[in-house]
Symmetry: C2
């Protein structure tokens, strides 16, 4: 083990210096921790699935590193670990999942299941979630539908970090939009973007190591564009200072669909993810649309045309030293590697996981070296 | 009349130098020209409605200046002026309008009508259009639904002008995404964006007057970012050289929903808008989703929450000399002015309109001065 439990100043940004663990072990570890902290089976299962799916694909910001936060929200009472989810429909092709202040993940997967059931019957289904909380990466839910042969859109809003166009104070969240489509015999097409250029996390990370931010992604408290993470007051929307009305408009669409249409918290009025109060419910909303391709066109035609599009995209002439990738390509390649070699866990997170294991009386995570042995490389 | 029919070198970029005409007169003029060129009543009506709605709101690139192009496509045979539109449903909440190679506008408004009818019954409806052509501004259709109390998304793809992320050749269209929501007693919330930072038109305009483009919106034929319009080979997606994978992903979603899901032309394989052949059908697809707010939440709650969001947005502290606007605010202000003062028509377009009047034996457009007299300022 390379991590040093006593001394986090030896923190390395190089993944090669980190411990790795098999995703199945991590999934079990997360599940066990959540159960010990008071979650029911369904909640623990949904959170473990979402975090591991996300980390496997290399989206570490929304992956397993969130476990300690989730434990805190569970122990503080913000999250109801044993929610009674209910589903109500006001129309034949719409519905609303009441998350009962449980984990956003349980409600998110439930909403996608309900939307798929509606799409099976009527071709398209839209499901909102109310009384929810943080649900991890939006892509988890569109992916879950695409893996079963559906087109899906997943949208939510989030804590305010991003200015309105021409604004100088945080107003919108990094409000993500995710879109996924099924491909027969292949990993789904999966697009998942924040409506800012960079996530707030990156500001924090770059601030720690005094690394300059990209130009045109952040502003200081006077509203001037800055590359100094430590002077950053807010993010600019995608499109930067000049074309940020586009990113801001997309973020607005997310607020309208996930908060206005649900009666839940708008980004600018949302109680903070990071507390300090971990007993208050956050009243988040989420929004999902699921469609069955064959409700529009024969499945084989849809599949052939999507494959033709992706082939043309990947064959595009690229600028020097680059290759044109389709949405998801980079992440699926990371997943393939992490399925074999385990998921790298940075030293700070490994240390917190060790502490969690002790405090929750759970078997600690074991690091792997080389490739993951006895690990079925399935089509997860 | 300030325009000079013989000498277009006196062209002025200042709207104050242009003729203006009442929108009702322009709508009638467009209608008459299309009828004389062989369109049926419904087609002429839909095109006139779309172009005037768009120009009234100041989106001149997609407004009345398109009339001569549409006449050319009608006379060339690309467009069927008397299409027999059909509507087929493969599921209870989806459907497809076959545009029969007519104007995209007739099919677009029809698709929105069908989607509203489905939403009335089932809460949400998704309608695709096949065998279509250019439909003007995507916002026309989401607006048409929002004006009647519905949430709507309108998406299409278009001629290739935009590189894939890290690509060097045009691949995607400027593929627009439009989203609109109803507001009781007010103009709808209307967001309508291209997934590139700037439209291709701007490259052409700036090239003519040697004006530099914004940084990070266009590339030359080597794939290097350029601000020289005359060296521009393609547009970058929204997000520019570094974050363009987001704009490109959104453009890809438009291609998947409007072309893959319909079996119609992908952006990169689409026959060019500008010809030279105006007899070939273009086989375009379009995609619409319409939702009834009350299928999710009581109308009054939706309305109150949307108004609260917009009030908070418009009250955001702004950078010096700016004001934070909501999507559509600028365009609705232009509409208010143009309803009163007429729509400005640049000299080149005025001259072409005069020629069209002669060649099609239609009464020429009359300019107005001062405010539009006898013009009912309705809630159009």
């Amino acid at each position: 083990m390379k991590q040093n439990e006593q001394n986090t100043t030896s923190y390395s940004f190089d993944e090669n210096d980190w411990n790795r663990a098999a995703y199945t072990d991590i999934e079990k570890f997360i599940y066990d921790c959540l159960i010990q902290a008071g979650a029911d089976h369904k909640s623990a299962d949904a959170v473990a699935r979402s975090l591991v799916t996300t980390s496997l694909r290399g989206v570490d910001s929304h992956g397993i590193r969130l476990l300690p936060h989730y434990i805190k929200t569970l122990q503080g009472g913000r999250i109801n670990g044993k929610p009674k989810l209910t589903f109500q429909s006001l129309a034949a092709s719409t519905g609303t999942v009441d998350a009962d202040h449980g984990f956003g993940q349980v409600a998110g997967y439930r909403a996608i299941d309900e939307a798929m059931a509606i799409a099976d019957k009527n071709g398209i289904g839209a499901v909102t979630v109310i009384n929810s909380s943080h649900f991890g990466a939006a892509g988890c839910y569109s992916l879950a539908a695409a893996e079963q042969g559906y087109l899906a859109i997943a949208i939510c809003n989030s804590d305010k970090f991003v200015v309105a166009h021409d604004g100088i104070e945080p107003f919108h969240g990094t409000n993500p939009i995710s879109f996924a489509a099924p491909i027969i015999g292949e990993k789904p097409y999966l697009f998942d973007m924040a409506t800012s250029s960079i996530p707030w996390n990156r500001v924090l990370q770059y601030g720690l190591i005094d690394r300059p931010l990209p130009s045109d992604v952040a502003i200081d408290d006077q509203g001037n564009v800055t590359t100094d993470a430590n002077q950053t007051n807010a993010l600019l929307p995608l499109g930067g200072a000049e074309f940020g009305y586009k990113g801001a408009g997309l973020a607005g669409m997310c607020d309208v669909l996930s908060a206005v249409l649900t009666g839940m918290s708008l980004s600018h009025a949302m109680y903070s993810f990071t507390g300090p109060d971990f007993s208050k419910h956050r009243h988040l909303g989420q929004f999902f649309i699921v469609m069955k391709p064959e409700a529009f066109i024969p499945t084989e035609m849809f599949d052939a045309q999507l494959k033709a599009y992706l082939q043309a995209l990947r064959n595009q002439p690229a600028k020097e030293g680059a290759r044109v990738l389709a949405p998801g390509d980079r992440e699926w390649a990371v997943e393939e590697q992490r399925l074999k070699q385990g998921i790298p866990i940075d030293q700070a997170v490994w240390q917190i996981f060790s502490q969690l294991a002790k405090s929750l009386d759970v078997a600690p995570l074991q690091p792997v070296s080389g490739t993951v042995e006895n690990n079925v490389i399935d089509s997860k």
